[in-house]
Amino acid sequence: MTADLPGTSEFDRWRRTSPFAIVFFVRGTIEQIRIYGQLLATFGLAFLLVRARELAGELIPVAILLIIAVAVLRYWFFRFRITGDRILIRQGVVKKTALDLPLDRIQAVNIQRSLTDRLLGLVTVSVDTAGSGAVEAVIPSVKRAFADRIRAQVAAARRERLARRAEADPSAEGVAIPTGDQRRPSRLADEALAGEAPDGRPARQLATDDPSPGEVMMKLPPGDMVRIGVRMLGEGPVGVLPLMFLARDPRDLLRYFAGQLGYLEPISREEVPHDLVSDLAELIVRAGFVAAVLAFFAVLGIYGAFKTYFGFRLYRTGAAYRTRAGLFTQHEVVVQSVKVQQVTLSQNLVDRCFRRFRMTAQPVSDDAEVLEVPLIGANMAEGLRAELFGSEGGGLTLLPQSRAMVRVSAAFIGALTVKIAAAPALSIPTIGLLFTGPSAGWAQFALIWVLVWTLAGAVIALQRWRRWGYVHDDDGIAVRSGFVARKVEAFLFRKVQSATVKQSPLQRLKGLATLEMQLAGESVEVPYIDHRAACRLRDYILYKVESNARWH
């Protein structure tokens, strides 16, 4: 199958990457010696400046030359090759490393284009493999054709495997490729095509600087960069606002309360000089200060947004989804819908004002790159979720405001309140008791202290409880959580790796339980649901897992 693909010979011999990859290796070398560099910075630099200032002029160029020399050596010893069924990489100057990646273990082929790469029309390819702690191969500054070649070959290997299986067992679920008509592939074969050229064009035609990577599903105009940048403030505005209402000098406030409780000599409010005009003036100054702080971070955020997401585009080729974005370094991530473990939609306070969300799709391994759509509307998000899940999970929703969401038991509020408040509410008065002994002042303080903490705990717990929710259908589940921000994680039951039912003493008393579902990426919890329901759902998940071996 791979033999008929064009250009096999071009990469089927030991090659070095472009000499411009030296830039990449310089960066890598600096990254590697940074830890030592920090030590040098603290001790060596001080030594240089104090003792041997004249040496610095020689040592620094020598160090730079050394780094470049190491980078050149590393470039020289870095060789790669694609054979019929694997990628081979040999690298290392002193410690030789041989990386041997079978194509069918490759989960994703991602592309980064640094500024030098883009000027020269080159790409840096990184290959994700399955499994945790997996080796990731990075091949810097190669021709675009190389990436296309790997993708095509990975897809071909997969297609071949599927075809073999279909041949061996024509009744196999989902792989029934009509034998007479190879040009109408089934959904799975369609997935196999993922990452290959659209319309079945041979990969070589794609080997231009910027080939068409498929159908554009969405793009973000520069205006949205501003939105993303402001979004990066997150809950910041809420955090900064109290600055406005802080006392002139926090120590005054502390002394005032301490005085009231009899711990210190009391001071009266009158001793703190103030009048209406100066108060007003100060309020304005503070408001200005808060606005300036927010503006500063907003500008930083907007710069970051432009840098990372400028020209964001989401493409679809078959069942592969591809994002491409970046101002200087262009980053490209390809994720196939079969590989997606869970889909997450999150919305913080700023997003909520814009009525937008951030969406991510986590592929198989947790160190693989995540497909991220930084700004997405509700309809588009639901559409993309439906596409990623295919025919399954029709009853799920990603929207946190959805009425389908079922709340967890209200016992959660009490439990979380106790969890938050118990330690601080009890410990500080106890310590106080040890030092001062029981007194009226202590009792008053302890009462207020416990009340304040309980109240704060209850408010936080109530808000957390309001966020928790879930909705499930026969195929999957969507779980909503959050505090100020909202997040919905959705996945299909057959993607679950292991399931745990947990019960705290309180939960046992009330017949409740927490269900934890571990996925390849991360685990998702549904707290405080009926114990029997949790067990039933757990058993159902196991049943789905066991009756459906496909999870990546």
Partner: protein, 202 residues
């Protein structure tokens, strides 16, 4: 593989799931974790935990004793006066820790257990905060048995099964033979599941 026993849910239920209402599954088709006879951990595991904890407490006690002797011999009056209470607290901690080290395993170990079924392996743990974890064989990537110095001394081994993604699930305190047999069984099951997966197309 066809789809034997896949429940026939109506779409109406799909959109209004209620609190995990999940009916219409044929009773025989579902694996049930509730009615299982749990295998206890090896009886020596409690002793092994006691030994481990006592060794740690012993090291702590040695440090405290060294500090105490130093304070007494150093001859600084203020220092020995200040150090009285901290030293008493540390000694009390050692005593409490020692008692806890003896008692805790006796409470915890009998309440832990594992169960192996045709399709998955279960481990339950916890006294107050209880958990039952299930790992289906079809998702296990690899397995590992290990035993530290103390484990070997007590003739014990730990079995860890690794699904994809985050770290493995450990079943501690198995007899060496049990652990090895279990590992062999799990590996066998993984292979069987892989073959099945190959049939259905992974």
């Amino acid at each position: 593989m066809g789809s034997p026993g896949i429940p026939d849910f109506t779409k109406a239920e799909t959109h209004n799931p209620g609190p995990f209402a999940n009916p219409e599954v044929r009773p025989g088709s579902l694996p049930r974790a509730a009615t299982l006879d749990w295998q206890p951990l090896h009886p020596r595991y409690a002793k092994r935990l006691q030994a481990g904890a006592l060794i740690r407490i012993g090291v702590l006690a040695a440090v405290v004793a060294a500090a105490h002797v130093t304070v007494l011999l150093a001859g600084f009056e203020t220092l020995s006066r200040i150090a009285v209470w901290p030293l008493r607290i540390l000694w009390a901690l050692c005593a409490l820790g020692g008692a806890w080290a003896v008692v805790k395993p006796l409470i915890v170990v009998p309440r832990c257990g594992y169960a192996v079924r045709e399709k998955d392996i279960l481990y339950r743990s916890g006294v107050l905060w209880r958990a039952v974890r299930v790992v289906p064989f079809s998702r296990v990537q690899h397995t590992r048995t290990d035993s530290g110095v103390l484990d070997r001394r007590f003739g014990l081994a730990n079995l860890t099964v690794f699904p994809a993604g985050a770290g493995g699930h450990k079943i501690p305190g198995l007899g060496t033979d049990t652990a090895e047999n279990l590992r062999a069984y799990v590996s066998e099951r993984i292979e069987a599941e892989k073959l099945e997966a190959a049939d259905t197309g992974s």
